[in-house]
Symmetry: C2
Subunit: 629 residues, 2 copies
């Protein structure tokens, strides 16, 4: 499929070997704790056995409309893990589960536990609310991942049969439903299925779902009428909730449920490339710009409101009630990576990195078996990670993101090789007709010195494009020990080292990484008079266990010197930021709620820890945005 849109391709998992002091332990926990724990929970709750289709009315553990997606995301996570860390037992377990899933497929190709054993009569009756195509999408993504990891086609063939059935049900032909899912997901999955199989019908079906979205007469209203319901009684009140209020090409704002939106926009970006359609790309960019400039937490969290699990108004970013679902931050990574593939601009990787190191990573405990669904930026201590949740979308989503981390580091476009993220690893790729191995070593994110080493049997001409992060005010690069002038090399945030590379070439990148005091735009009411501490890509926060209570009352002097110290025994090894601050003494207040006397303050030493690592010790208060004055 030809495309006039520029397009860089991420390196696949098999071509990237991660070996990193920060990430490798987390990936190990993901493989050894998180993925097994999620399987265990899926098993205990009935999600695995649901595929046997033996559930009967009146029995416990009734398959829920979401359940298939939880299992599918777990399979996807396990498949990514197999791609980099083959494991015979896991593969055997997956094969067995896939056999069960394949047996659950109905003669016409239909494949969904809830609508097979619980409510077969409601099949395709409520796309708006019931996640039927959403579950199909996750099955597709899982099957594609398993195919890429193992080369085995069985699951892929199963989902292809399902998609063939879906294609017969949905479309513009007489007798077909002109529908699309209330929870987007199948669209981006179908693009992956097309890429894996080469079958263009799948791409066309993705385009059909995206094009149809928001058209009048509105499909969700039509199907509501068919169910005998008043469309006006829709619980979410607006089709913005599902990004179907207007056709997608007319959309300019991120609205509604945040995860749904991110999945849709990701598919729109995929289709813009596949169909070479600038209009679709323009909508994506417009939405993305608006999102990251007006509606994104400093952690990369998005979707500030619990009410719609989504977006509200510009600059409405409350801290304590921040919803900022883990899945939404993951969705932002997915969407952003696609835009980055189209236009290599470090602004994308800046956002992706912000979300990855902060708003995503906070979603899983260091232990790997407890999770956050919501990621507030301030807490009174009531937030604790939970083991499992009835709506358990986030844990397997996080597991599949981590297992696929290798896909986010590098990308290639013609003879340009992009380094988007600084994660210790070795990349294998073919460029300018030669095979190259690039090794990256660093103590990132604790330290901004990164060393790259080239290995290639032959000398090779290509451009090594190193991202200079937006948070970095001063960077320098040495090639084989010799400093190069950076300014002439910079293109959209990347330092482009174009030269003939040979084995042994060493590139040293130094990113200055002082503590920054970040302010939010004056219209972010919650953060007026406050700063967030950031160092490198990491946002920091204060926890009660280190700093006592009343963290909102701490005030950092604007001239206060801040000290960074690596604590190897704290939270798996983190750099902390310390300094002194003031806090009002409580004693003089006695039982007064309001008083006009001058405040009596005490000086305290504070310690800030990386936001992603909060809530791993004793429960207590937390703040990201600290008063400054």
């Amino acid at each position: 499929m030809p495309s006039l849109l520029k397009n860089s391709i991420p390196l696949s998992l098999q071509h990237v070997e991660i070996n990193d002091a920060f990430w490798s332990p987390k990936l190990q926990v993901n493989r050894e704790v998180t993925i097994p724990a999620i399987y265990q929970r899926c098993k205990e709750t009935g999600r695995i056995d649901a595929w046997k289709l033996t559930w009967r009315p009146g029995q416990p553990r009734e398959p829920h409309v979401f359940w298939d997606s939880d299992v599918a995301k777990w399979i996807e996570a396990a498949a990514h893990s197999l791609a980099t860390h083959p494991e015979a037992n896991l593969e055997a377990a997956l094969d067995e589960l896939i056999d069960t899933i394949a047996r659950a497929q109905q003669p016409e190709g239909y494949l969904n536990t809830h609508f097979t054993v619980v409510h077969p009569e409601w099949r395709w009756k409520n796309l708006r609310d019931w996640h039927e195509l959403y579950c199909a999408g996750h099955l597709i993504e899982a099957a594609v991942a398993y195919f890429h990891a193992t080369g085995k086609r069985k699951f892929l063939d199963t989902v292809c049969r399902y998609v063939d059935h879906i294609e017969s049900v949905f479309g513009a032909q007489p007798g077909q439903k002109r529908g699309y899912d209330g929870h987007e997901e199948i669209e981006l999955a179908l693009v992956k299925l097309f890429q894996a199989t080469g079958e263009k019908r799948y791409l066309q079906l993705a385009k059909y779902f995206v094009d149809e979205r928001g058209r009048q007469p509105h499909y969700f209203d039509v199907e509501a009428h068919e169910r005998g319901e008043e469309p006006a009684s829709y619980w979410a009140k607006t089709h913005e909730y599902t990004q179907s209020h207007i056709p997608v090409r007319e959309q300019t704002l991120p609205v509604g449920h945040a995860v749904r939106g991110m999945y849709l926009y990701a598919a729109m970006a995929d289709l813009a490339v596949a169909y070479d359609e600038v209009e679709l790309l323009t909508a994506c960019k417009c939405i993305w710009q608006h999102l990251v400039h007006k509606r994104m937490y400093v952690t990369g969290g998005i979707g500030s409101s619990r009410a719609n699990e989504g977006h509200t108004a510009d600059y409405d970013l409350p801290n304590a009630t921040a919803y900022a679902e883990t899945c939404a931050a993951i969705g932002l990574v997915l969407f952003t990576q696609r835009l980055q593939q189209i236009e290599p601009d470090a602004a994308y990787a800046d956002v992706l990195e912000r979300a990855l190191y902060n708003g995503c990573l906070s979603g899983v405990a260091l232990s790997g078996d407890r999770f956050f669904y919501e990621n507030p930026l301030e807490s009174r201590g009531q937030q604790q990670r939970w083991e499992w949740h009835e709506c358990s979308c986030c844990p397997p989503n996080m597991a599949r993101l981590l297992a696929a981390l290798g896909q986010y580091i590098y990308a290639q476009h013609a003879n340009e090789f992009f380094v988007h993220l600084y994660i210790g690893s070795a990349a294998q790729f073919d460029i300018a007709g030669k095979n190259v191995k690039l090794t990256q070593q660093s103590e990132y994110p604790w330290n901004g010195k990164i060393i790259f080493q080239i290995e290639s049997e032959h000398e090779v001409d290509f451009t090594l494009a190193l991202r200079i992060p937006g948070w970095c005010r001063s960077a320098e690069i040495k090639v084989n020990g010799e400093e190069v002038a950076l300014a002439p090399l910079m293109q959209k945030g990347y330092a482009k080292l174009q030269r003939r590379w040979r084995t042994g070439d060493l590139v040293e990148l130094n990113l200055a990484m002082p503590v920054e005091r970040v302010q939010a735009h004056p219209q972010v009411r919650a953060n007026c008079g406050r700063i967030a501490l950031q160092r490198g890509p990491l946002i920091y926060g204060l926890e009660e266990i280190d700093n006592g209570k009343n963290l909102n009352d701490l005030v950092l002097a604007s001239e206060e010197k801040l000290v960074v110290k690596f604590e190897p025994d704290l939270l798996g090894g983190v750099s902390v930021i310390t300094g002194t601050a003031k806090r009002r003494r409580l004693a003089p207040w006695q039982d007064q709620l309001y008083r006009a006397d001058a405040a009596d303050t005490e000086k305290i030493f504070f310690k800030a820890v990386p936001y992603f690592s909060w809530a791993n010790r004793a429960p207590g208060e937390m703040v990201v945005w600290m008063r400054e004055g």
Copy 2:
């Protein structure tokens, strides 16, 4: 009924004539605009005609379970108005409405529109949710007020027959329901009915309802079972919502729906006096102390959460989402006045005054025909007063409070005469066997100089107890031009001038009234680093119309001099507070949401207006708590 508890009695409406530059115009608007407007809305919406009992199923304007209370509160407001400002037309209209209400009474005495014409089969079936006794309570209060205003007994006799019926239905005898209302109100109303009629059964019924509350087996669970419902499926989830989670004497915290609580606690205070019961008083004081020291806005607003229209946790006082229902602030006035009657301590009048001048008064527009249900302390401009609301409890509640304002100024206990509020007025009272007229003159709340003049045919020995407000750091008193030493006279916040008074005696009270910068307790997270401007009893706020946007970003220097100026043409004549502040410039931000550069600020002149007067001009932002640094 003998009582060992000390008790001061407020002067009745007929004995206080208000003549005050601040309040008289507001009371005139209440009489001439608000009371007629509420009648008009009650008429248009069907609330008045509902009493004709002609509504039939399928017709519009189905009488709602709340409606009777709206009409009753209107009658009460109109009756208070007649007490001070007789008006033949209004009295005739009231007589006609009362005739209609009396005709609506059922043979057994029952009197409720909804449960007579809409759902007679549901009578007394859901006390928890359906406000049946609540409506009865407001009818009782209205009838008592009308009796006091006119001496006419018809309405009083009607409600007595209704109460006789209620007394037959509820009680501990076999065949009676051991119930009480989910929305307290009838309890305090029954105390008033007892006081008006001398009929002790009414007091006993009030005591029964209060004593029964929260006992096990829980009545609301019993009646839920009788309706075939699972008590556990109660929408409010907890009986704290109705203050019936435990028996009232065990209650120590203000919980649940704020208005309901205030009405209950008011009745508890009444019963503590009537039955000379210290235990009940102790519960009241404990709840009141907790409320005003940990859960009250600086405006006297209470009930911070919209979810339960009520209380949440200590120090949880968010500004933008403050619920702070007008009715709840009014309820705080009612509860506080009762405690003040039991123990004359200026701490009570301080709270009553705070609520009255701020959180109550903000509930009605200067024009008198638009209302706030919620009274936030910060707004983006989306809050506007509305003309009418389906749940329209607040407008007539405010109307009855204002029409009865005269009852809150003075109180008498033996030979002590208390001045609780500084409102220009003339009071007539008998003390030490003599008749006295006390005239109060001032420009309060704009000015702290208040002059009292005594008229009495005979010399008279009594104690004039003048409240020295908690907000005042420096007061002086002159009697007949001669300064008196204040300290020896002070008792629980009152300066007690005990002497032989004679006609022509002049007392001049001077309350220093500088602008105060009020801080909130450090545990009030929302207000860390912020101050509220207060002058005298008034809390101030900044509005966008005077100060531009991004009011949360304004920062007042702690040494900034603040200037007070009376503006006769602004908002009906108010003193404003002006000064200079800083605000970050928006231009340098361009489209950045976060940045680490030093802020570029601009100096601006700000003007703060009294909180009660906000939202009377163009829609826009508002803040009470201003940054200080």
